[in-house]
């Protein structure tokens, strides 16, 4: 008979790498920017590309944030999220076009007013649409992933076709408001004004979301609900109501993202939401399903990769996102910042 193993505790310091582990995702974005700088070599093109990449990333984040939160909270995966993007873009752009004399005037105040009204209209419509969507489409299929995917996909088709019915099947081209056209020159690099605005708006949305989630009571309930919904309900909160609120907010954000994307591209089509969904899904998967911070980092990375690679090797840009996703999933199979479920 052998002796029992000797239980001598060993004291090992946590390695530097392990202590850095939580920060690793956050470091990815600066690392990627730095890598891009050395790969591109030219200061001015690097600056232009980085700004447009960040703008793109921010817009994708605005669209993705609602989706990831909805999933984290209620385990609902909404394939129809792209419909809100399309609807937001069409409503917002139509509003701005209807306010043509404001948007065409060379006054910053009037321009911003027109765009602001457009955004407001878009968010209002997509918010209401989100509420209807949740009630009619998603409510009956809670807890059944397979049906959720199928039904929300059906919802996407129907909404898209309704857009085609109202606005016609052709793509709509338009110009941005006067003062948002053109670029400013900084350090020899041309930075488009609109992109800077998009970065600012995206950053504001992210900061606001973080503040709401971290500093307010409702944010606390949402975060607790993501981690362990049953427990929150047992404590007497009606998580269903919270969820409806989050769903509406997420839909409205998708609408905002749609307007921003529409003005970025200066063309809108009924299928744009569907196309954006691909990027949004990649972002959500990279970030870790349910994590807002993860989606933020993921969105910036996708934006950076796409812009840098399109500049360096245009043909490879088509698969750069898939390659990025593959690499991240090999590193962390759950995504960068998976939400820890206390179940």
């Amino acid at each position: 008979m052998s002796d029992a193993p000797d239980h001598r505790p060993t004291m090992a310091a946590v390695s530097f790498g392990a202590r850095l582990d939580w920060a690793a995702p956050w470091l990815m974005v600066p690392a990627l920017i730095l890598l891009g700088f050395f790969a591109i070599g030219s200061m001015s093109s690097w600056l232009t590309l980085t700004v447009s990449a960040l703008a793109m990333g921010m817009m994708i984040f605005v669209m993705a944030s609602g989706l990831t939160l909805v999933f984290g909270l209620m385990d609902v995966i909404n394939f129809g999220h792209g419909a809100f993007v399309s609807v937001g873009a069409f409503v917002g752009v139509s509003t701005v076009l209807a306010l043509g004399h404001w948007a065409g005037a060379p006054s910053l105040v009037l321009n911003l007013l027109a765009v602001g009204l457009g955004v407001l209209a878009a968010m209002l419509v997509t918010g209401v649409l989100g509420w209807i969507f949740e009630r009619v489409i998603i409510r009956p299929v809670y807890g059944a992933h397979l049906k959720q995917i199928l039904i929300t996909m059906g919802g996407l088709i129907v909404v898209e076709q309704v857009i085609v019915m109202i606005w016609g099947p052709d793509e709509i081209f338009f110009a941005r408001p006067e003062t948002l056209k053109g670029a400013i020159t900084f350090a020899g690099a041309a930075l488009e004004k609109y992109r800077l605005l998009a970065v600012a708006v995206g950053l504001a949305v992210f900061v606001a979301m973080r503040l709401v989630l971290r500093r307010t009571r409702i944010g606390l309930i949402v975060r607790a609900g993501v981690e362990n919904g049953e427990m929150v309900e047992a404590l007497g909160y009606r998580l269903g109501m919270v969820f409806v609120g989050v769903f509406i907010a997420g839909s409205a954000l998708a609408g905002l993202g749609g307007v921003m994307w529409g003005f970025y591209q200066e063309v809108i089509t009924a299928g744009m939401g569907e196309d954006m969904m691909v990027l949004v899904f990649i972002v959500v998967i990279i970030g870790g399903l349910g994590s807002v911070e993860g989606a933020f980092i993921g969105a910036l990375m996708v934006g950076l990769m796409q812009n840098y690679i399109a500049f360096l090797e245009p043909k490879a840009a088509l698969i750069s996102n898939i390659a990025l996703m593959t690499a991240i999933l090999m590193w962390r199979p759950q995504g960068m910042m998976p939400v820890v479920k206390a179940k």
Partner: protein, 355 residues
Amino acid sequence: MLSVLISGDRPRSVVLGVLLMAILIGLATAPFLFPGVRSLETAARICVFVVLVASYDLMLGYTGIVSFAHTMFFGLGAYGVALAVDGMERGFVPVVLGAVLGALAAAVLAFAIALFSLRVRAIFFAMITLAVASAVAVLVSQLSGLTGGEDGMTLRIPRELTPAFKLLNEPVLGVRFNGKLLNYYLVFSVSLVLFLVMLRVVNSPFGRVLQAIRENDFRAEAIGYRVVWYRTVATCLSAVMAALAGSLYALWLRYVGPDTVLSFEIMLDILLMTVIGGMGTMYGAAVGATLFVLAQTYLQSLMGVAAVALADVPLLPALLNPDRWLLWMGVLFILSVYFFPTGIVGRLRESVRSG
């Protein structure tokens, strides 16, 4: 004998049995029963889509995995044949070689995707397939030097399968015995064989395990089946079948292009056919594909006629416009997932059980 052929999976409903026999006989005798170019095209399309939808059902209905990349596998088979025919001499060798290589590529790709997504969470699979499929679709339309881009490629298929090849000089029963007819029967018989193979698979012990995973993957794992492995094999098998269906379709159309084999609309069609026919039964695929293709071919033109006829009535013409086809399909899709999750076949079988 028949029972062995259909792997003991009886229709279990008289109406369903009659319906299936009607579909089989109708397709087998289509060139004679329904002469004309359009009806033959429809019949061939039905054959191909029965296989395609059945292979999708293997994933969706039997294993409970949602994939949006089925058109990608379908397209791999089609482009496999197209590229092989393009690069080699005219004959049957490149066709077979292309089909085999296409199926192989589909299997490898399916394996890679499954490895990445199914390991973690089945829900990842739906999203990742959507992303990969759209990337492949863009890639195909961009690499115009290889794939012909948006224009697609025209195939030089073996002469024996073209209308120029005559078997008999005189028409029999009003039907010309030419290569086109041979081509149809090639498509028909290969489709039938593939369908029966899949029927065999789902009624084997392997198929039973798949169903167990669909019902409760946690329990299946606890009993001792390696869920990830079974899901992966089912995905690969499904991809191979879809690729073979794609090869058949390319051979029949003598053309491949992004719109005919890769577009998202086809993916939606497949989803609709699977759900309408009935998830989780191979016969559902046959019924769903047949009804849907028939409706697509004939009902859509009927809608146009109705829209013109009702031009004076407000609102109705706008809703009956053939462009609204997809809208109605979407509505139908949502309604059928809600109210007929078991589809036509499930309903027919239920009515027998309760009656």
